[in-house]
């Protein structure tokens, strides 16, 4: 062990003069490395950005759809209160529109799933009662279904 250290030290004892050229060379290498890293970072960022943009375009209508769904909720509430064929037609049209944008209603059959449902009332039972419809867009939840858990 000691020998190794000695050897190391003896190696260092030799006068190692770093010439100006070497210094500049090392600096140039450092700059080149930094530049390459920067380029790589940028290209990767661009790739990520393209991916993000794709996702963004896919969900660009989300905010408008959410507002529309809010109105659809009210129309459906009205439909329950007032049985009117015209109104039923409007609601059906609305649902067709959502289908075109790949917006689908979340089922509230079966068991409570916090990935799809949001509980607003009830601690006892496990039967779901929908109080506000939930929707997915391109398979992603854009608004969870609000449910009441009853016995």
């Amino acid at each position: 062990m000691d020998d190794e250290i000695k050897n190391d030290l003896s190696g260092q004892e030799k006068p190692t003069e770093v010439s100006e050229t070497d210094k500049v060379k090392a600096q140039a290498q450092e700059y080149l490395d930094n530049w390459k890293r920067e380029r790589a970072d940028f290209l990767n960022y661009k790739k990520d950005e393209t991916k993000r943009l794709g996702e963004f375009v896919k969900f660009a209508n989300k905010a408008v759809i959410l507002e529309a769904i809010d109105i659809l909720d009210d129309l459906e509430r009205a439909e329950k209160e007032i049985n009117n064929p015209g109104l039923n037609q409007i609601v059906a049209k609305f649902h067709n529109l959502l289908k075109i944008f790949e917006v689908e209603r979340i089922s509230t059959e079966g068991v409570f799933d916090p990935l799809l449902h949001e509980a607003v009332e009830g601690t006892g039972g496990d039967k779901l009662e929908e109080v506000r419809a939930g929707y997915t867009m391109h398979g992603k939840v854009i608004r969870p279904a609000r449910v009441k858990l009853t016995k």
């Binding site: 009210d74 509980a119 109080v131 992603k140 009441k148």
Partner: protein
């Protein structure tokens, strides 16, 4: 190099960010959200929920849903804070064997740091998913008032989650970093953080390489939730007054009012009045009841004014404790979603007499700052500190005194841009390059940086010569402008130093000027452009008439009828006389008239050309309109 994750581990919500290409960026979680609720739960079958899923099941499982654990982390069970929160929190809390706190979730008792670790674990996993790489290191933020034990417990939470916590930094410090204030020297900064459940005020002093917390204050039980409660309470009362029905016990109705209150609150940040419409809110014997009400910003401010006043009083108190006066403060940063409320911005501005920083999303600024700290530690931010941006747009004057931008404001330098321009008159022997800086649409409203003339342009009709103008700003901020005649290769250039050396005031003034005059400038620019169009059309039509006049019409050209010639000349005259005025409508009208006639006559001439069909129209390279 693996990235360091910046984490804002909040009481209500958490957020995370990383530095990419020298800039911090928020990472969305698996659910696609930019913030994650700081909630953990254990389901009936022992399944663990973290974040939004835990929040969604909370009402069905309150005893096993742990939220606000940040209020407990690193504290002693006997602390007043813990005793107070114990009464408010629906889950079980007990004293740990070491005098600390334990919370019950499922059958097991957990330390608060274990619960925080579950949140951090989710953030880590979601970040890895987003980035496609392993995350092992993190910077976590804590309130400035956290003591050693609370900081240590937060660090432990990170380690439990499998992260090497490179540093635990103060939330206000992170906010200052996000705004790049660490680069300033000897400044005093106030961070006003109105979060969902807590209000924190911090006074920082920025030294040479340090950001020191001089004082902290606030109220751990004052936040946006209190504001929401006030609005909901008001809506319930209004409904009762209007319809005579009390919905304060109806959970479903309250939920709908809560949604409406939140929406109204957001809308009133940008408008002065909104409508709250909740049809079919409830029903009684007489039928369904609807809620409809106009809600003004003034009313909202009246409702929550006392909460905002309280926050301002606390700010004053903290300043006093720090030994500072409001006039000593150089910068104010707004943090927390609630600070989007215009009333808060106004009150803060009134108190300090200056505009607070609010450009960065106040829900994300702390996480972004944590990422910046990670970037600095990794050396990634180093380059950002060196790279400057152009404070104002740079460009040249073109035909009609229009300012044509070559490099837009806020472009990172070094940068270079090239564009081809042409001449405005036939046989124009030279072009003048007038270099300007500013945001106004017309050249003379901007600042002249320099001028030069490129001469020796060979005689040619207007629009034909191609002059390539290039702007290049090097890393030292020196602007090189070059103009080159593509036909002769002749070039001329100028070097302008200090194009970015504007004082902060000058920059602000010029930007504000541009905003103030935006509408009027747009009109002037439209007039200039319409004029250019009119002039060009008059010129080309005149040329067409001349070229098709017998007897020396060029080969293949048709012969123009006398009637047509007269019609075109009349209309050219009308355009030119309209051009003498500043009447935009008239210039447009006459130009349009001329354009219609010119197209008709041009079409007829084209039909007369014998070789027209065989050879087809000669496609010319698209060229910039003559600009000089």
């Amino acid at each position: 190099m693996a990235k360091i994750l910046g984490i804002d581990l909040g009481t209500t919500n958490s957020a995370m960010a990383v530095v990419e290409v020298g800039q911090p960026r928020i990472l969305e979680n698996k659910e696609g959200m930019r913030t994650t609720p700081s909630v953990v739960a254990m389901g009936k079958n022992g399944e663990r929920y973290v974040g939004v899923t835990a929040k969604r099941q909370a009402v069905t499982n309150p005893a096993n849903t742990i939220f606000s654990v940040k209020r407990l982390i690193g504290r002693r069970f006997k602390d007043d804070e813990v005793q107070r929160d114990k009464k408010l929190l629906p889950y079980e809390i007990r004293e740990a064997s070491n005098g600390g706190v334990e919370v019950k979730m499922g059958d097991k008792w957990h330390k608060p740091e274990e619960i925080s670790a579950m949140i951090l674990q989710k953030l880590k996993a979601d970040a890895e998913d987003r980035l496609g790489e392993k995350i092992t290191e993190a910077i976590i933020t804590v309130p400035a008032y956290f003591d050693d034990s609370q900081r240590k417990a937060t660090k432990d939470a990170g380690e439990i989650a499998g992260l090497t916590v490179k540093r635990v930094i103060n939330e206000p410090t992170a906010a200052a970093l996000a705004y790049g204030l660490n680069k300033k020297k000897d400044e005093k900064v106030v961070v006003y953080d109105f979060g969902g459940g807590t209000f924190d005020i911090s006074v920082l002093e920025i030294g040479d390489d340090t950001i020191e917390v001089k004082a902290t204050g606030g109220d751990t039980h004052l936040g946006g939730d209190d504001i929401d409660q006030k609005i909901i309470g008001y809506l319930i009362n209004e409904f009762k007054k209007d319809q005579g029905v009390d919905v304060s016990k109806d959970q479903l109705a309250i939920q709908r009012l809560k949604d409406a209150a939140e929406k109204a609150k957001h809308e009133l940040s940008s408008t002065l009045q909104t409508e709250v419409n909740v049809p079919f809110l409830t029903a009684d014997a007489s039928g369904p009841k609807h809620f409809s009400m106009a809600f003004t910003r003034a009313k909202l401010e009246e409702l929550v004014g006392d909460l905002v006043t309280r926050s301002i009083e606390l700010t004053k108190k903290t300043l006093d404790e720090a030994g500072f006066k409001t006039g000593d403060i150089n910068e104010i940063i707004l943090v927390g979603g609630q600070t989007r409320m215009p009333l808060i911005v106004e009150e803060v501005k009134k108190l300090f007499g200056k505009e607070p920083h609010k450009d960065i999303n106040p829900d994300e600024v702390v996480a972004l700052g944590a990422a910046v700290q990670g970037g600095i530690m990794q050396g990634e931010i180093r380059d950002v500190l060196l790279l400057d941006v152009t404070p104002l747009s740079l460009g040249i004057e073109t035909l009609g005194q229009v300012f044509t931008k070559m490099i837009e404001k806020n472009t990172t330098v070094p940068v270079s841009k090239t564009q081809i321009f042409s001449t405005a008159a036939d046989n124009q022997p030279s072009v003048e390059i007038h270099i300007l800086q500013g945001e106004r649409a017309m050249a003379h409203d901007n600042k002249t940086l320099g001028r030069f003339i490129l001469d020796g342009v060979p005689p040619a009709p207007r629009g034909v010569p191609q002059v390539e103008v290039s702007f290049d700003i090097d890393a030292n901020g020196i602007l090189h402008v070059k103009a080159k005649d593509k036909a002769t290769g002749k070039e001329q250039s100028i070097k302008i130093e200090g194009s970015s050396g504007l004082s902060e005031d000058e920059k602000k003034r010029m930007t504000a000027d541009a905003e103030k005059h935006a509408a009027e400038d747009a009109k002037k620019k439209e007039l200039a452009e319409t004029r250019n169009l009119g002039e060009t059309l008059a010129y080309t039509t005149e040329k067409m008439v001349k070229e098709n006049e017998a007897p020396d019409a060029p080969a293949g050209a048709g012969k123009i009828k006398e009637d047509d010639k007269k019609e075109l000349n009349d209309k050219i005259e009308k355009v030119r006389s309209a051009l003498k005025s500043d009447d935009l409508g008239e210039i447009k009208k006459q130009t349009e008239e001329l354009s219609k006639s010119a197209q008709r006559v041009g079409g007829e001439l084209y039909k007369q050309t014998p070789s027209a069909e065989a050879s087809g129209p000669k496609q010319e390279e698209p060229k910039e309109e003559p600009k000089y």
